[in-house]
Structure formats: C-alpha cells, structure tokens
Point group: C2
Chain length 462, copies 2
C-alpha cells in the first residue's frame, strides 16, 4: 500500500515493506548504488531511497531520475547510516511515471528568487519554501474552522457578488455580464445597469460583515471565511486584490467578549500550527526570518495588553522615540506607533480600544462620551495590526444618525436597520486577513508568496 | 453563565441555574403565568420559559415579549409537565434587549411561502425551516473539511478572478476596474483590456480544477472548497449564479481510486449530518420531503453500483420505459435516463463511467478504444447527478491533440501542459456542487433556499 512520506518519516520502522510515490528532489550517483530523495508534498523532508546497481535496467532508470521526475518506489525500510535521517528506503522496484528534462525543467537544485518562482506559479509548490508555506496555510485554515466549530459557531457563506459597499469605503471591482464593447447607456448617458445580469450595478464584496450580522441575529454565533476583494492599485508586499478573510460575529456580546474571543483565537491558531507543522516552522525560522518562533511564543504565552486609544496617545506623546508621523488625539495610529506600543512599551500583543468615532466606520458602537467608539485593533510585536473589530451600534436611532452623518443613504441600509428594529441585541465581531496571518506566521516578505495564485495589478496568471 | 439552548435541551438537569439569550418565538399568556419559547438558533426547538406574575413589572415585561423580541432569561431548570419537552426554565429575571413591533414584524406565527421569505432574507434565518437549512449547511461544510483533512488532503484556495476559462465552456462574468460608462477602446474598436486593472480580460472562475491539478502535482492530495460562478440566464430551481464547489484532486490516482474516494465521501457526509443534525433532518422528512431519510439511508448503506456508459445505453434500450429524450450511443444521458438507472434498475447510487469523448471535456483521459474517456458521473435515487469526475489526461501528446481538436489555443494552456512535461503522473478528481448536495439532503425544492444570500438573474439583494 502506498504510504505518505510524512507518515513514514515519523512512524516507519525498519523491515517494513512500503511503496511511496512522489517527485525526485535530488540524486547522488555512486559506484554501486544511487541515492534518490523523493518528496510527495506531505512534508519538508523527502525520503532517501537507495537504488542498487543490481536492479534490472539500473543505468537507464537512474538516468531518467532527474530532479522533477515522478516515480514510484517499492522496497524495505532500513535504518539509515547517514546523519539527519532515521530511516531510508532500500528499493526493490522503481517505476518512472514522467521525466523532467534537466535542460529545460526550471527548478534546478539552486536557490531561486521568489520573483522568479512567481512566474512559474504552476511549479513553485514543489520547492522547499513554498511547500512549507502551503502546508502551513492549510494548517492555519484548519485551525480556524476547528476553533469556531468547537465553540458552536456556524460557518456562513456571505455573498461574493454584492450590490452594496459594506463600509462605504474601499475601491470595488465591477461584476458584469455586459459585453464591454457595447455597454448600454440610458438617455442621459449613464450606464443602464437595469439591463445587466443582476439588474443593478454589482461588485465583488469587500467584507461579509453586514451579512454576517444578519446571520448572527438568528444563530447567535457565526463566522465567515471566504474571499474578499479590493480594486486598489497598490503594488506593495502587503496588498492583494483577492484575499481570504475571517469574520466572526456574536450576538449578545460586547467589546470585552470580542477581545476575549480574538485573543483565544490567535493563541489557538499559533499553537495549532506549532504542533502540526513543527518542521516547516523551524525551516522558516532558520531560512526566512529568525524571529518567527519568538513571535509565536510571545502570542501564545502572554496575556494581551489592553490600552485605550486615548491612553495610547498619551504614551506615545511621552515617549522619546522620534516618529515620522504626527501623534495627536484624533489622528489614526500609524504602523510605527502601533509597533512602538507592542514592541517597545508593552513588549507583547496589545489591544487598542475606543478610537475616535470620526476615524472609524459608521457601524461601530458610540460610547457615552459621544466622541469615541467601541472599536479595537490588535497589534503584535514584529507583526503590527493583525485584527480589527468592534462592538456594533445596536441602537436604531444612533445608527441612523451615523449613517446620515457620513453622507450615506438610509434607504441602502433598509435591511441592516431592520436588524435594529426587530429584536436588536448588543453584538460584536472582528475581521482578520487570512493571508496576512499566514505571512506573519511564516515570516514571508511578500504576501504574494503565501497565496497559491496571487491577484494584483497586472497579475492574473494561472 | 450563558448556555446555548441546544446544550440545555440535551444535557440540562432540573435544579440547574442558567441564563439563556435569544429571540422570542411564541408567547402564551395564562392567568398566573406566561409561557414564552425562546430560540437562540442552536437548535430547531426553543426552550420553554415560565414567567410568574409575581415577577416585578410582570405585565409590562410580558407585553414587550412579542414574537421576534430579543431577551435574556435567568432562572432554574425544572422538569416540564408538558408533553414533548423534558425541561423548562422557571424564570427569575427577564431582560428585554429589543422589541419587535407585532404590527410590522414580518415573521408572524403562520406559514410563510419560501418566495416571501426570500424577500426578507435578512430575517428568514429565524424561521424553523431556514434555521434547519443553515445548521445542516454548516454540518455538511464541516463534514467536507473533516473528511479530507483526516485523509491528509490540503485545502487549496484556487483563484476567484481568472483570466482563463477552465473547460472552454460556461458563460462567465467579467471582472473589471473600468468605469463602464467610458471603457477604453483600441484603434480597431476592441475593448482595450491592457488598460484594465489586471491588464487583460478577467473573469469570475467557473472551476478551480486546473489550478487544483497544479497543487496536486506538488502535494499529491488536495481539495478546493470555494465559490464558483455561472453567468447563465437560467431562472430555475436548480441554478445559481454564485455557488460553492468542492473539487478534490489526487496525484498517482486512476478512475478506480477516484470512484472509491467519491463513494466514501458521500457516505461520510450523509452519516455526519445524520449524527449531528438528527432533529433538523427529522423535520425535513416530516415537513419538506418524506423521502430524504430513505435517500440518506440508501447512500450510507449501499455499495454503489458501477456501469459503463455503453452498458447503460444497452440497459436503457432494453427498458420498456418511454423516455422523452432519445437513447443512442453518443448522446448525453438526460436526467430521466440517469434516474431510471439509479431508481428503477439498480435501486441505489450508481456510478456511470467511460463516456464518449466527444460529449466530455478535453482534459479527460482517453481510453485505448480512442472513443471513450475515463469520466464518471454519480447518480443517486431521488437526486440525480450529484458528482462528476474523471481521470485526467496525463500524456502530453494526447492532451495537445485534444486541446487542438476542440479548437482551443495551446498557448493558453502553457502551464497546464507543463504539468505533463515535467514529472507527469496519472491523476484524477471530481467536482460536487455544494448547494445541490445541501438541497438534495434537505429536500428543499428551490436551491435559492439553501444558500444564505442567493445570486441569480435580477437577484442580488442583501
């Protein structure tokens, strides 16, 4: 029976007869036998196979086993004399499924730049680093579902195509069934969206939060985990046009409950990945960023600090650190400010709460001071902001005032307001960018290297 | 501490002091006390609370507790004298969070049509049927992840925005950053997509299969579970413009392995839902479709039948059943044919294999007869087709011929062909429409009632 290599490396015993299937990573030919390392994607390390020259067609077979070739090897596990590996596979039979011409196969045994690997996105999962990234990514995703399902949250699928713009902000992509060479116009030269597929202007969603609130008002605790989009022309190492977001929403919950959930969530996810992908995390710490294990440890083992925005401003004003951006009550905190608080002052993950209303979204609950809202951002050392959340405004009259004050149209929010009209409850939630979490956890420098097929300005291959 | 009602109904013991939070479903006022049923979305049944007139502000509080009001009740669990419920909650304190004006609240205690409920999609999750649907939907989704994760498959996120059309078929939505009132044209009056956000014509994906194949060629076993799209103008009870799909892909796997996985998968998911949502499934069987429990049982407890397309045609030709559509080798099977095979002939789930090449997609593996491909469809009694899959063509030369024969451009498939050029392996996978599965499992008549916020022609509210 075919065994996965990760399983054999952990549990395989000498004298066991096994079959493995995978791709050749390296080959070392010696006089009487050859060493061929085979990887099947289940772990960073491959299994060393030893092929003896007694094997029929030895020379022809070895010739075909270049890097990238696909192969099936059956044989017996034996203790390995080599250091760094417990066992190896003494091959009885070797079947080559497909070769990989060494002259043209782009993944040769040398270090490739991540930029180059992005151009061969259909092959980069076969490298050590990207292999580790996508295993960790899967572990993070699994941890997310497990965390919420264990706590009785329903996974709700909020719509991808939307006619509303959740936050009244964010640049959005248009989704259309029109032939763009002949878009129908009305008499006054406006686009006639009534003739489009959906009968109105449709967009790709920027957040599932408002719809998640709908579901929380029926099921109490829910979460979204799905793709969201930004049409921002940002060509940076931290922006994607298409990325996955996680957005829990809880009825009968205030900001304190929201902060508790967010802290428990981050600890759970980091712990889960440390336990399920220890070799991959070790690799990132050695090769990519030697602070990631310390960062994980800091998140798992510290109670998060909590500070109000107002107190944070006072701390920043008192600090002797020269900041590039001004510090002043009413201005948003910049990354340098957040990092000072988490890295230099508190030295652990820090939750900043109660921001000025005017720099936050309309749906956040107004405090009694009439000036600040029950918002929170979590910033972590070496990472910066990783979670943003709030208690939502559940009072109909206050919410209507805030929507109007922001120049938005109440009619567009009829159903959102209905939630406050019929059985309204205190509720809260947060949002987390999935790729940013994977990026921070692995230390990868560019967010395009933690999603299999990145979408960004001018980038839509594969 | 707040407890979920599902938990109390199952495990709550008389004399326990508890707090619940939820929404009023029904109220029955009697002389000395009132019965108020509270539901928090965790289960079909709510918890009966008993409010005694001794309570301060009794009359005013009861008045506010109309259907839809949100409430917190603390008290003591007691054995219930009423039939059909084991326990009830003797209230000590009742807090009303939000009222729901009985004059205007749309969900009164009567049967509403599903069409009407779709118009109030922001409230319909609070009804018995839609509540059950979304709990089952969550259970199906959880079962899917658990099934694949237990077997070492990686969840891979294939792109939503794509520049390629997987199957060379299917009507696609355009994704654009253009202002549609001024789409730039080239000198020869074509849309100048080079000036669009992605620099080329971008679409919403119709399938993640080709990208899943990329990932399987590095990690062996992977699955997608994400949204896919069709811009078809189909206003039927079985079509959505936006729906979720599950697509496993396995390297070193042929069609036999694919069929084994698919059968194990369906049994697992049905079993999981029967175990985690028994009350909801019972409800569907009683109120929506009295065959769904038998269907689930049929899937869980039968070894699926297997028949080739060629033999299936022979069976259909021999049958005395009058079919509306012609039966002839080379024509696709219609729903009536598939149902005859599964319901009348085999009387259990049936896998039909080896279809004529000319009615299937280019990527399916050509059989030695040069006429049929290693495709499979799974059809189930009362359900019809539920899964479609195939072994993929792994031979570079054959694949190139098939792409060219279908009038497609080899250059568009450069990376897909590279997978056959470098370390190609036999591989296979299948696709399953998530909403169709939920629809069949629950017996719901319209697919728009098994997704929280359906998208269809002229339908993009919420």
């Amino acid at each position: 029976m075919t065994r996965r290599i990760a399983d054999l490396l952990r549990h395989g015993q000498p004298t066991e007869t096994v079959t493995i299937k995978g791709w050749v990573r390296t080959k070392r030919e010696q006089k009487e036998f050859s060493f061929v390392e085979v990887n099947d994607g289940s772990s960073m390390a491959g299994l060393q196979t030893v092929i003896n020259q007694d094997m029929p067609d030895y020379a022809a077979t070895i010739k075909r086993l270049s890097t990238g070739a696909s192969v099936e090897v059956s044989g017996t596990l034996v203790e390995s004399p080599a250091k760094g590996q417990r066992i190896e596979l003494k091959a009885d039979t070797v079947t080559v499924y497909g070769e990989a011409d060494a002259e043209t196969y782009p993944l040769q045994k040398k270090r490739h730049s991540f930029e180059f690997l992005r151009d061969i996105g259909h092959l980069r999962g076969r490298t050590n680093t990207l292999g580790a990234v996508f295993r960790v990514r899967n572990a993070v995703a699994t941890a997310i579902h497990q965390f919420f399902q264990e706590r009785g949250f329903l996974w709700v699928h909020t719509p991808i195509i939307s006619a509303s713009d959740c936050e009244g902000a964010g640049e959005m992509f248009t989704v259309t069934g029109f032939d763009l060479s002949k878009v129908p116009l009305t008499d006054d030269k406006q686009v006639d969206f009534s003739r489009d597929f959906f009968g109105k202007h449709a967009y790709l969603t920027v957040s599932g939060q408002l719809e998640a609130e709908i579901m929380a008002m029926a099921f109490s605790n829910v979460y979204t985990f799905g793709p969201t989009f930004r049409a921002e022309n940002s060509n940076t190492s931290r922006h994607l046009a298409e990325f996955w977001m996680v957005e829990p929403e809880m009825a009968f919950c205030d900001l304190d409950g929201d902060m508790e959930l967010a802290e428990a969530f981050l600890k759970y996810v980091f712990q889960f990945v440390m336990e399920t992908c220890p070799e991959d995390m070790e690799f990132f710490n050695q090769r990519i960023d030697d602070s990631i294990l310390a960062t994980a440890d800091n998140i798992i083992n510290n109670e998060f600090a909590r500070v109000t925005y107002t107190d944070a401003i006072a701390l920043l004003e008192k600090s002797s650190k020269p900041f590039e951006y001004p510090v002043e009550w009413g201005l948003d905190l910049q990354s340098e400010h957040e990092r000072y608080l988490a890295e230099d002052h508190f030295k652990k993950p820090t939750i900043i709460t109660d921001y000025p209303a005017k720099i936050k979204a309309f749906y956040m609950r107004m405090n009694d001071d009439g000036n600040t809202v029950r918002a929170m951002d979590i910033v972590a050392p070496k990472i910066g902001e990783i979670i943003g959340g709030s208690q939502r405004e559940e009072r109909l009259d206050v919410l209507e005032q805030r929507i109007t004050a922001q120049g938005l149209d109440l009619a567009d929010y009829w159903w959102y307001l209905d939630l406050r009209r019929y059985g309204t409850v205190p509720h809260a939630g947060f949002g987390l960018g999935f790729e940013r979490l994977v990026q921070f956890m692995t230390g990868m420098g560019n967010i395009r290297d933690v999603i299999p097929f990145p979408r960004a300005p001018q980038e839509v291959e594969f």
